[in-house]
Amino acid sequence: MSTAATATLDRYESPSVATGRMGMWWVLASEIVIFGGAVVCYLLYRWHHPEWAESAVHTNELIGVINTVVLLTSSLTIVLAHDAAHHGDAARAKRLMGFTILLGLAFLCFKAYEYSHEVAAGFTPVKNLFWSFYYFLTGLHALHIVAGLIAIATVMRGVGRRENMQRVEYVGIYWHFVDVVWIFLFPLLYLAPKF
């Protein structure tokens, strides 16, 4: 690994950003416009339909807050895992990534609880356009959580064998992005729409 790395250093013009991290930034650029496009649609419709406020009071704000805290905490654990990996402490990195996965699963459980109660109360995706957007945006976000959990688990296996420790950072960047999306979805769907 190290010989290939030095050979690469001599072989090419000096790289601008570490290759793996740069690839992750490109992924995020693509994701920003996907999520952003969905949010732009939601905002435009929301602006046109003041009556959505009546639907929005039925979202479960308490679970929204809990899930925000859960995701922020998982962001902390993954960035600490990156810190540990950076200092070569594989065991600690692995433990912290395990916490992150647990927190991600907790998020999904809360989400599932929330969905089931909403559906039971009659707020299905076809109830009205607000609920369509609610399920669309949170569902897309939940899919990214699942993808992130799989990615973290994959990297965690490598870390256990002390391989590809730099990937902790890349998967972390992705996980933080999912967190950032939620930071915006939380006020968009739970707090502000009640006005």
Binding site: L72, L76, A192, F195
Partner: protein, 93 residues
């Protein structure tokens, strides 16, 4: 950046969650909505800057992510006349 910073940022983030919830309870005003989104932007910038280390990243990465957001702004502005203030829309739709 070290562990201490990360944990400090974490508590600031939690505090911000509290602030936005309080703003949500405070009253149904434009200022409250603006405050909620301002805290969201602040939270996002903390995560981006410190957890994703964008502060220490090369400038072109910031420009690149920023131009993605710029595209969305263009899209939003271009669509407002048609989707929000609708030309010829029948009332009730």
């Amino acid at each position: 950046m070290n562990r201490g910073t990360y944990i400090k940022i974490y508590f600031v983030l939690l505090a911000m969650v509290g602030v936005s919830v309080l703003l949500g309870l405070a009253g149904h005003t434009r200022i409250a909505v603006a405050g909620i989104f301002a805290t969201a932007l602040f939270k996002a910038s903390l995560v981006l800057g410190y957890y994703m280390h964008l502060k220490a990243e090369k400038n072109w990465v910031k420009w690149m992510l920023g131009s993605g957001v710029a595209c969305l702004v263009i899209l939003f502005v271009g669509l407002v006349p048609d989707i929000v203030y609708v030309y010829g829309r029948i009332a009730g739709n």
